[in-house]
Symmetry: C2
Subunit: 349 residues, 2 copies
């Protein structure tokens, strides 16, 4: 399997090495062969090529079986014009590879739950998966422009039926693999696009009789994620709502530095990245938490390569290293042992 | 001053009486005169007139100095086609009266903070005001329609410069009256409308040198509201982001049943309503919490009638009744006394 590595910026450059180390260990243990190729994206690409997403990066990713991405962004590029900002690289590669399904599993680690802003009795036991549509909606709809000499502006939230169908199917299938409950989130009391979304979910549900479906409004879901996060299993929603709700959900368990994500194409090719950002404040110090990157690598094995046992082994290794009390400086474990990126990775390996 | 009462549905019909009782007491105490007129909106209007917003209601509100609204909605109308749903009445009256500025102060009550899903050390001391644009954006932009024989759909997020300017001014002014900090929330790394929004905030800030301004992305704000709610003073944002973030914020302090809102026009005419809904499950039982409605009435006195002392007196009365331990069934106060809507109102009066 051929893997393209996109370290990106900040701690992305550090944690990507952890992914590689873990894959080497997996290759050895299971007799697999992974080949690697590294390319630039984000700020690093702006510095080197004058664009956040060089053609060479797109081409390499287009030929890969999967892509691992560290993180993009940093203060150096914060005041750039928008086509020269690091996150354009991210948006561009999602669209170029047609990575329509963003999966974000959010589950707390028992020994880290104390870091949650929520009371333990509220958050304990929560285990949800957000399935976010990633290549449509307000992010890519046209027109998106100034009008009337700059006196007005429009953005466009557009979806085709096919775009909604494929993400809804993905979510139903994910629910079948989990606890069989799907919450479809929309704003059907206001948006025409949400009404079509709701209709499609209703049409599809006959195909998945083992999944119970519930429709919820985005505003009320934003409340319930906080007051009752354990009520959710799989949440499916459009791009912008997914952006907001998945970030909201990511802080519930107090384990932001531990959360992976997968962005998938229909044929299973995918891009895998930590939920956390490039953390410029701690970049280059060797103290970044590699766990989100390593768990993203596990998702790659599971979703793109269908290597479930290998994925599970990585996840178990992370859990057991935490159980042994090892942790990076973003975490606290009582009676634990503070280690840097390399040592944390070594223990997991 | 002439006040139109729109009880609406469910517990709206009950708590609206509490508003009236409180206004009678204020009138007597301060020698004011308030006249009242009651009209239908929402489900009640659908039942009686076949539309959630009868012309007669719009006309009456158009002539009022202020409008008090209870709540709209209920299971009876949940499966109606969208033009016959109760919330259409709410959206319609906002637009008809040009109520562009939705203000939602969110502050916990000390003796209720224990009901928060957040840890006390996280939420304690939080006191924020969300200023939401209410008559533009995705809610009212056109086109909003099916296309290609139902194979695709669009909604439109549109704003004029003037619409953004007036809400941003409102928010700066609110910040001046409070702790002088404004967080402008957008998605400027993706949306053209957000870029214009950000530009306008930048242009305006010279006019308000006593206010410090910060720009934040909607996704990261959804996180920070939970991890660090005390960092916010005034938040200003567009309609849909405001819908999501204000609902999210409303559950932080554990006092959802206590939260008022104001929706204002440029000349000060406003509509005031509780943040909570029509609560069909407890409607008609005389047990609804009237505090959000009563505090909405205080906001009416403050914003539409400029009766600050009167508004403050109501707010102090609510606090002192809570301090005495009186509470409705949605709340718990240790060693408190459980009362119904009427008795809670009587104590506040
Ligand atoms: C960086 C930004 C454009 C991106 C998004 O909004 O999708 C990010 O917030 C994410 O969720 O991956
Ligand atoms: C009922 C609904 C249309 C409304 C909105 O989305 O504005 C409500 O959620 C609110 O926040 O007042």
């Amino acid at each position: 399997k051929h893997v393209v590595l996109l370290p990106g910026d900040g701690i992305g450059k550090e944690v990507i090495n952890s992914a590689k180390d873990v894959l080497h260990a997996i290759a050895e243990e299971f007799n697999h062969e992974f080949s690697f190729e590294t390319h630039e994206i984000g700020g690093a690409a702006i510095d080197q090529y004058g664009t956040p997403l060089p053609e060479s990066t797109v081409e390499a990713c287009g030929q890969a079986d999967a892509v691992l991405l560290g993180a993009v962004g940093g203060p150096k590029w914060d005041n750039n014009p928008s086509h020269l900002r690091p996150e354009r690289g991210l948006l561009g590669i999602r669209k170029a590879l047609d990575l329509y399904a963003n999966l974000r599993p959010i589950k707390g680690f028992k020994n880290l739950l104390h870091a949650s802003p929520l009371k333990e009795e509220v958050v304990s036991g929560s285990d949800l998966l957000i399935v976010r549509e990633l290549t449509g909606g307000l992010y890519f709809g046209t027109p998106s422009e100034r009008r009337d000499n700059g006196q007005s502006v429009v953005d466009t939230l557009s979806y085709t039926r096919k775009e909604i169908e494929r993400i809804v199917d993905k979510a139903f299938q994910a629910a079948q693999q989990r606890r069989g409950h799907l919450t479809s989130v929309d704003k059907a009391n206001v948006l025409e696009s949400s009404k079509l979304w709701r209709e499609i979910v209703e049409e599809k549900k006959a195909q998945y009789p083992d999944v119970t479906v519930e429709h919820a409004l985005v505003d009320s879901t934003a409340m319930k994620l906080i007051t009752n996060p354990t009520q959710f299993d799989v949440i499916v929603t459009e791009n912008m709502f997914g952006d907001i709700l998945s970030d909201e959900a990511s802080v519930l368990t107090g384990s932001l530095g531990m959360l992976p994500s997968a962005s998938l194409r229909e044929d299973g090719v995918g891009l895998y990245e930590p939920v956390h950002g490039s953390a410029p404040d701690i970049a280059g110090k060797g103290i970044a938490n590699p766990v989100a990157m390593i768990l993203s690598t596990a998702l790659m094995l599971r979703y793109s390569f269908e290597l479930e046992a290998e994925a599970k082994l990585i996840e178990d290794a992370v859990q057991s290293v935490l159980d042994s009390g090892f942790h990076t400086s973003d975490l606290q474990i009582s009676n634990g042992r503070l280690v840097g990126t390399a040592e944390m990775t070594k223990h997991i390996v």
